[in-house]
């Protein structure tokens, strides 16, 4: 019976997409305490930006990045009159990043079109939106309660989704798979895209692991997540850690979006539900542990698939109900980790 093979493979494929988001969620939550409801929107931005670039259009994300960068720079503009040097110092990184974004988009559209280049440009563009959103939404409220930060992220979700609807419109866009076709094994057709999703999700996980274990920035980020105050005393700026984690989170989620787009088309609504399902998976690890979050999303993906088979009308209800036993189980273990209220 190939039915269960189909269900298992497709469940794992969705699970791999959820995994990229769940990793972003954990990353952002540990470094900034933000339970980021808006994480799915980066996935949407990834899918939409890739769709625009492949169509040969200038992606509206470029405009978002440039306008967002200007907004971030706005407080420094006042310094233009009093101390021009300070302004130049503040503006320089913004200008360099804007130039990078513009160059990449130009190259993708006019010099070197193609899926790989488009994906790279998309990755850079969406990664840049992360720190911008962090700068505009979380940083002004750095000492706020975790609950306030959740509400802020709900607001961000609404704004980003609304902007995307205005910029791209509601029509779904087809996105061609990087590699067409697939492989037939045991009577089950598996597209190369699904294989690519699993491989990339695996590589991203390994890359993240290496980043945290081997690089200074990664170690600093880990330190900031273990103890914010302690890290600060060691000279790790929490703003910097926050910006880096938002950037990484945005990039990982965008990767998920680019991978899932060929399977389900790019449309402005894909982010939210995927984000929520990844959230269910991430709660499995209490939003703080990576391996458990990965186990969680694999469970969510497979459960999603099998419950859609067993009772398609109740599929989402079954998946979201999973939060309750997870919460019970986690609160049973609550003594083992320090919760942030």
């Amino acid at each position: 019976m190939d039915t269960y093979l189909f269900l298992g493979i497709d469940g794992l494929t969705s699970g791999a997409i959820y995994a990229l988001l769940a990793l972003s969620l954990v990353l952002v939550q540990t470094a900034t305490r933000v339970v980021n409801i808006a994480q799915g929107e980066y996935l949407m931005l990834g899918a939409m930006t890739l769709a625009s670039l492949l169509d040969g259009d200038v992606p509206p994300t470029l405009g978002l990045v440039l306008a967002g960068g200007l907004l971030c720079l706005a407080p420094d503009i006042a310094a233009l009159w009093t101390s021009p040097r300070r302004f130049v110092r503040a503006a320089l990184p913004y200008c360099l990043l804007a130039a990078l974004a513009l160059t990449l988009v130009y190259i993708t559209l006019h010099v070197l079109p193609g899926t790989v280049m488009s994906m790279a440009t998309t990755l850079v563009l969406v990664t840049l939106t992360g720190p911008i959103i962090y700068r505009l939404s979380v940083r002004p409220k750095l000492d706020a309660d975790a609950v306030v930060l959740v509400i802020v992220s709900v607001g961000v979700q609404m704004v980003v989704h609304g902007l995307a609807l205005i910029l791209w419109g509601a029509e779904p866009r087809p996105v061609a798979a990087a590699v067409q076709g697939g492989v037939v094994g045991a009577g089950v057709f598996v597209s190369w895209q699904a294989v690519a999703i699993l491989v990339v999700a695996g590589l991203a996980t390994l890359g993240l692991y290496a980043f945290f274990e081997l690089t200074l920035a990664g170690k600093a980020l880990r330190a900031a997540s273990v103890s914010r105050r302690g890290a600060q005393l060691c000279g790790i700026a929490p703003e910097r850690a926050g910006a880096i984690s938002f950037a990484l989170g945005a990039g990982l989620s965008a990767l998920g979006g680019m991978l899932v787009a060929p399977l389900v088309t790019a449309n402005v609504d894909i982010g939210f539900v995927v984000g929520l399902k990844a959230f269910v998976g991430a709660t499995f690890g209490g939003l703080v542990t990576y391996p458990l979050a990965l186990a969680g999303v694999a469970l969510v993906g497979v459960l999603d698939s099998f419950s859609a088979y067993a009772a398609s009308g109740y599929r989402d209800a079954i998946v979201f109900m999973l939060v309750i036993p997870i919460m019970l189980w986690r609160s049973g273990r609550a003594g083992q980790w320090e919760g942030d209220r």
Partner: protein, 399 residues
Amino acid sequence: MSSRSGRFLMSALLAATFLALPRPLYAQQSKPELRIGAVLAASGGAASIGTPERNAVALLQERYADADLPFTVKIVLYDDASDPTKSTSAVRRLVQEDKVHIVICCTTTPSSAAVLETLTASGTPAITLAAAASVVEPASSHHEVFKTSATDRLMVARMLEEVGTLGAKRIAVLFADDSYGDSGLAALQSLLPSQPAQLVATERVARNDTNFTPQALRVRQANPDIVYIHTYTPACDLAQEALRRVGYTGPIIQSQGAASAAFLSLGGRGVEGTIVTVAPVLLHDQLPASDPMKAKLDEFVRLYDAKFGAGKADTYSAMGWDPVNLAVKIFGDMVQTGKDVSDLEATRRGLRDGIEATKNYVGVSGVFNFSPTDHVGLLPKGAVLLSTVKDGRFVLLPN
């Protein structure tokens, strides 16, 4: 900011405000005014449907502003963000503050159901654009509400006729898991007992699912003769793709939710040969010259495409076209026959009665024959056409 630049900004703003003021306010006092209020979902979950509807209404707003009529037409447009709560407050505002004569509302079925009470209480006639038959039926409890496009019930009825023609006995269905799917499924279940065919699988799919294989496997297992898919893009494409992937090779019928250019471009070669229920507007160039709707359809498509781009006229924009035109026509009749249109309530009542008595009104969604028991006034054939996908376009199937 220095005070000088502040003053400059202020004066620029003032100048802009004066420039933006409407043209002479004193010019049009003598003519009676028809006030139409429209509440459509230009954002939110149903935005892909509400936006073209709103475009059509906005286009008519422009055209009637310049039109030479014995009365003026004022159209007030609100966005309900696909949220029934917002629809209700918008309709209340239209009825109480804007004092509109007729309301065009709403894009979605839940919104249309939510505003019913406000409309009934104030005796304001309304034309809904929602798909479900339940928003206008039974007419006795929807005294004020009309619909000027095919209901899902008509669509399902037309689909079942085709199933009968093909001689299929076992139907499997995939319905959207929202209000569109719910009411479609209810229509199917009420129509099915009188049919020789039998339902062998009923699956639900979500618009934003990332995985449609499980439902497709269930359908395959039921071994159907024919599969009916009742959801929107992109889900209707993805569901069909999943069915083919698990090895289902039989015929597939798609609902009107698939009747869009997006369905074709997303589906590519994979949707060739699919039967799709479509609104007349999509096949306007294939209709015979003898078709009564032909002239109206051609005109609508020409005007709409000229404004919003070639090939943009679709099912949903057509749905926004007829309500405004119908209201203007009935109001015009009232003005012409010398009825007093200064009293708000009497005019509302007059419009309502006028619509209900309308016979043989040719619109772009069908030829309407309203009656006290039928507030849709359409027959399955004519309002719902069947097409098949051939070489990347919809081709009319003979009725």
